[in-house]
Amino acid sequence: MTETSRPIAVKAMYLLSDVNGPDSGNFTVFPGSHMRPLQFNQDPPVGPGTPGAVQLNGKAGDCYIFSHALWHGPAQNLSGHGRKTLLYNYCQMFMRCYDFDSTPDVAQRATPRQRRLLGDLGYDFRPGSYFYVPDDQSEIILGHGA
């Protein structure tokens, strides 16, 4: 992983609750940490009290796009309210879906672009499929197949 590498995994986190002030279940990040390995043996363990941690505030409807290599997690929540989020994860194609072992049934209700993202390559899987991608991959993903 270098500054010019494509990230292996990226997440979109959608806030569905306002988050105001610290210790409100804030999405907590270590800015810049996507370029260094997590210190697994640190004592005390890396947490929201570790120097460099930033608890982000936000409004319902905001979205954070972050590299999955970024050190991240939730702050404790003492706000008195639940904090709701949606997380959507995207990987390079040589990775596999975390939620499915094959293209899920919902792909039948999806657009061509969504189906491709859900693992439907337009032909049955064969070795190399996810590395040597379908010829129409860019066309599908970049918009005309949506």
């Binding site: 494509r6 990230p7 995994a9 990226v10 986190m13 959608y14 569905l16 609750s17 279940g25 907590t28 990040v29 800015p31 810049g32 996507h34 697994f40 363990p45 982000l56 319902a60 409807g61 905001d62 979205c63 796009i65 590299s67 290599a69 970024l70 991240h72 997690g73 939730p74 702050a75 929540n77 003492l78 008195g80 309210h81 639940g82 709701k84 949606l86 997380l87 959507y88 994860n89 995207y90 990987c91 390079q92 194609m93 879906c97 939620d99 499915f100 899920p104 919902v106 999806a110 657009t111 672009r113 969504q114 993202l117 859900l118 693992g119 991608v133 991959q137 860019s138 918009g143 949506a146």
Partner: protein
Amino acid sequence: MQKLTEQQRIDWAVNGYIVLEGALSPEEVALFSDEIDGMRARPGWEPMAGMLPRGHYGWVEKCPDQNPESFMDRRDILPYNQAFIDLIDRPNVFELIVDIMGPNIIFSMSQAIVRGSGDGFPVTPTPMAVRGSGKSG
């Protein structure tokens, strides 16, 4: 296709994340929030702490805690509503992800999380949180 602004490109490179204010409309926020509340009474994939290894999810008939303000970690949420499928490639977010990652990508995971008041921080790698959820947000 929408691209990162110059400032977003800098933020991504330096910080490893970008913030999109108002990415969802208030109507979408209300819809998704209601859907999350509704999931609690419906079957789905949840962590099942103490029964499955941390980070694994098992099939439950409903969320053990029906209070909509309390903890819930539900995976594979696409089947619950067409809006969750359509969120996969919502242009104002997805096009920026494509700009960052390139076009050779897959969608690998969907998740709805409620962090209840009183919930702690699931520290990595020593899981303080007994509920056994993944660490993301």
